[in-house]
Every structure is written in C-alpha cells, then in structure tokens.
C-alpha cells in the first residue's frame, strides 16, 4: 500500500467574475511510496499547490479519492505535517514554543514540551535561538522553525509548498542540503512543491512533472542519482535535459494550439 494514493482527482474552481468554472486539476492519479521524496514540478498556476492542499485537507477535491496511509483525507490533521511557503509561525511564540505548539494543543506540560522540542531545535541547527520570537530571526531561520514544527509531530508525510522560494540563493542551497540530510536521517515521506527544475533534481528521488492548467501529470520521473548530488555531473544534466524537454514540448503544444 502506498503512503499516499490519489485517484482521479479533479478540482474545479468557480470563477464568479467570469461566470464560468475553471478546471484546475484534471484527473490526477498518483501513488507515493513511504519514504519517497517526491517533487511536484510545474509552472505557476498548474495546480500543484492545490494538489498539496488537497492532500493536507485544506481543500476538498471536486471529485476523486485521496488516501494517506489507507485513510480517506477529510480535514487537516497532525498525521500530515505542512511546511508553508511563508514560515506561518505564531508571531507571539518563541521558536521553541512554535515548534512545540502541537504538544501544547495536546495538553503536554511545558517542561516536557521544551525537552522534546530541543531535539528538533538541534536537528535544524537553531540552538541558542530557541527563545527568540519570529520577528527577531531571519527568513531562513523561521523556515527552519517551520520544518522543525512539522517534524516534531512525527507525521507519516510532510507536505512542503515551495518553502525555500522566498530565501536568497545561498540560504536556499544550505536549506536544501539540510533537508536532504534530515530526510535521510529520519526516513520520512516528503511531497515537495516547486517550480524550479534544479531544486526538484537536487531534492527528489521522484519528480512529477505537471502540465500547465488544467493540471495533469505529464510524467513521473524516477531519479536515483546518489547523494550528495553533483549538479554538474553528466547524469544530473541528462535528467535535467529530459525534464526540460518535457516542459518545452508542453510549451510548443500550447503555442500551436493557440
């Protein structure tokens, strides 16, 4: 049984201003195995974030079936950790209290919460900053808190929606390396949304290329280049060429259609 099963997912948004419906996701079928690192790759507006929100339970598919660990997804829940595009931390809580927020909601005592959160503070390299508020930390540090917060819940899957898009190039590289290290250490299932071909190739062992709206799956590419990945190696470039050709075919098709 796959960790995540998507069957015939269709999502239609009603565009009231234009008075018609907008087909955003068109018959998505996808199986994601446990411990996979899957990157959903596609241009803006292709519905990749919508697909992630459907798995997270923030949005409902118009039709189709979404299962995580064999259970139907109906609402958000702590079995699916989400890392948002913006860190989305509680600004009134310190880093450690943000990370341990899930435990607070479960009624765990403060000393126990902090004790358990420290492991994740260390994991994301924020020791010394545990009592800082989000406004006192940089974007990259806040995004680390967001990742630690999702990991602490020990979810079966982690859903990430372009979490590094707002970071500068150097911080982005560091965070990508750290994320891969965390994934290797903790063996979790990650679904990572991105519009960057390079990012998908650095991170994923399965890259799902999506088409422009209405979003369909163009091809799911398995990519098992050993890590750490050399982004200048011939294997890396072969894969990149293949994915770029899929995207280019798509643009040509669109250009001819119009």
């Amino acid at each position: 049984m796959a960790a995540i099963e998507l069957r015939n997912i269709v999502k239609v948004f009603s565009d009231k201003r234009r008075g018609r419906d907008l087909l955003t996701l068109d018959n998505i079928n996808l199986d994601i195995e446990a411990n996979d690192f899957v990157c959903l790759l596609g241009p803006s507006g292709c519905g990749k974030s919508t697909l992630l929100n459907i798995i997270a339970g923030f949005e409902q598919a118009t039709s189709g079936r979404t299962q995580v660990d064999g259970k139907q997804v109906e609402r958000p829940g702590s079995d699916r950790g989400v890392v948002f595009q913006q860190p989305t931390l509680m600004p009134w809580l310190t880093a450690i209290d943000n990370i341990a927020f899930h435990l607070k909601l479960k009624g765990v005592a403060k000393s126990e919460r902090h004790h358990r959160a420290m492991e994740f503070i260390d994991l994301v390299g924020l020791r010394g900053f545990e009592h800082h508020h989000p406004a006192e930390m940089s974007g990259g540090m806040n995004q680390r808190v967001g990742i630690a917060r999702a990991l602490l819940m020990n979810p079966s899957v982690i859903l990430m929606d372009e979490p590094f898009a707002a970071l500068d190039a150097q911080t982005k590289l560091e965070m990508q390396e750290e994320l891969v290290a965390i994934w290797q250490k903790r063996r979790c299932t990650i679904v990572f949304v991105t519009h960057s071909v390079d990012e998908a190739l650095v991170l994923g062992n399965k890259i799902v290329v999506m088409t422009r709206r209405p979003g369909r799956i163009r091809e799911a590419v398995n990519f098992d280049l050993p890590r750490p990945r050399d982004i200048t190696s011939p294997e890396f470039n072969d894969a990149k060429r293949h994915i770029l050709s899929l995207i280019r075919e798509e643009s040509t098709r669109l250009a001819q259609a119009s």
Binding site: G57, F58, G77, R80, V82, F84, W92, A135
Partner: protein, 283 residues
C-alpha cells in the same frame, strides 16, 4: 525589521545640540504660557474671564493641598474628586472592555453572531452616547450608575469594532497551521485567533479609554454631583475660571496617565511585536 545603529558623528557641536534636545520641546509651551501670563496681567480682559497661568496653578495647588482655601469648598478635596472620576472611568471602561471583546470576538469568529448580533449593534453605534443622557437619568437616577452607563456606551464601540476587525483579519494561514497541528475549535479561538487579534484589540482599548474620560466628564456635568467634571461645571456657575482651567488640566493629566498605563500593559503583553534583529540584539 529595523536595526538600531548609532550613527552619531564624533563632532562636539552635534553632542552639544543633543544635550539640548530635551529642552527644544519645551520652547513652544514655555512661550505660550509666558505670553498668556503677560496678556492676562496686562488687564485687557478682567482676570475673572481669563485667569493667568499663575492663578490657575494657585487654584490647582489649593484644590490639591488646601493651603489657603482660595478654592473655597473644594480646597484640599482634589484627591476625592479625582478618585470619583477615576472610578467611573474604570468601571465603565472595564465593563465595556469585557463585553466589547466578548461580542467582537464572537461576531468576528462566527457567522451566526455576525448575522444575528451585529446589525443591532451597528444601528446603536451611530447614536451619540450623550443623547442617552435623558434615558440614563430616568433609568438610573443621579449617581454613579448613569455615569458608568454613559462611559460604557462611549467605550464599548471602539473595543467592539477593533475586536471584530482583529479577529476578521487574522492571517488565514495561521488558522490553517493550527488545524494542521490538530487544534480543535476552542483551541483555535483561544490559542491562535485571540492572541493574533490582540494588537488590534489593544488599539481599540486605547481609543476607548479616551472616550471613557470624555463621557465621564460629560456625565459629571449633568447627571452626577461629584468628580472633576462636576467641579468644572459648578465653578463655571460661580465664574471661577481659574478652577475651571485647573479641572481641565487635571482631566488632561489623568487621561494621559491612564493611556500611559494602558500602553505599559500593551508593551508587556505584545513584547513579541518588537522587531529587533538578532544582530541588533547582540550588538
């Protein structure tokens, strides 16, 4: 984010002006008061109509400490009068804060309350609180109650409006993040929406405390026989403009102090809003 860096040039001339910076602010008030004193003493107007600042200060001093009974029956009674007004402000403000926050959060959070409760409240809102004075007097008589009722009316709506706004504008993604971490409905309200709405609620409280003082003084002029507003209005009947001005100064001062107190509570509660960078702290 702002980082505080000291950019003062090492020039002695600049240091000198910095030493006088605090005094600069006093120049305009000092000139105004000196001009007023000179004008009052020139005799162009009878002193009863425009008392000199020194006379006002004298009246205020006697009102507070009772040294020469220039303020007659008020001499030495300032603390009693101020306390009477303070209690009305506090009573009405506390009631308005409690109910304003409760109703505001309910309306902001629940469609049901928004549909049932809000239209009525919004219809009551444009009615000036002072126009309730006749009803307040026949309902509550002449005492603390009508005053507290009026203060409540003046303070309630700013708290209500800002609480509604605060809850409605909570970042939708914070609510999503809460749901992702398993918050139930009650936790969503107490652990996410309420703290997120606090800055806006505090803005409402600060407007409300100002309204509370305005309404207290108004109520004391017509519906109560004690407090700073009563002294102000009573002195007007006896043409004691020095006491009228002393009462105005007292109200201004106490109003300012209540705002300072509220600001201090706000700074403590919203400490997380202070945006210092890590570098700014370490340096």
């Amino acid at each position: 984010m702002t980082s505080v860096t000291d950019v003062s040039p090492a020039m002695p001339a600049f240091r000198l002006t910095r030493a006088f910076q605090g005094l600069e602010r006093l120049v305009v008030p000092a000139l105004l008061i000196a001009g007023w004193e000179a004008f009052a003493r020139s005799g162009m107007l009878p002193p009863a109509l425009l008392p000199a600042p020194s006379a006002v200060l004298h009246a205020l001093g006697d009102w507070v400490f009772g040294f020469d009974e220039t303020t007659q029956t008020y001499s030495g009674h300032w603390l009693r009068d101020a306390l009477a007004s303070d209690l009305r402000v506090f009573g009405g403000f506390a009631l308005a804060s409690l109910l304003g926050i409760l109703a505001g959060v309910a309306i902001g959070w629940s469609r049901l309350f928004e549909k049932t409760l809000e239209p009525t409240l919004q219809m009551l809102r444009p009615i000036p609180p002072v126009s309730w004075i006749p009803l307040a007097i026949i309902w509550f008589g002449i005492a603390d109650k009508p005053a507290i009722f009026l203060v409540f009316l003046g303070a309630f709506f700013p708290v209500l409006m800002n609480s509604i706004h605060g809850v409605k504008t909570v970042d939708h993604n914070l609510v999503r993040a809460g749901a992702m971490m398993g918050a139930n409905g009650r936790q969503m309200l107490t652990d996410i929406v309420l703290p997120a709405a606090l800055p806006s609620i505090f803005a409402g409280l600060r407007i409300a405390v100002g309204s509370a003082w305005m309404l207290t003084v108004t109520a004391e002029m017509v519906a109560v026989k004690s407090g700073l507003g009563y002294v102000l209005w009573d002195s007007y009947y006896f043409l004691r403009y020095d006491i009228v001005l002393a009462a105005m100064i007292s109200i201004g001062l106490l109003g300012y102090l209540s705002d300072l107190g509220l600001k201090a509570i706000m700074a403590r509660t919203l400490r997380w809003q202070q945006t210092t960078t890590v570098q700014g702290r370490a340096g």
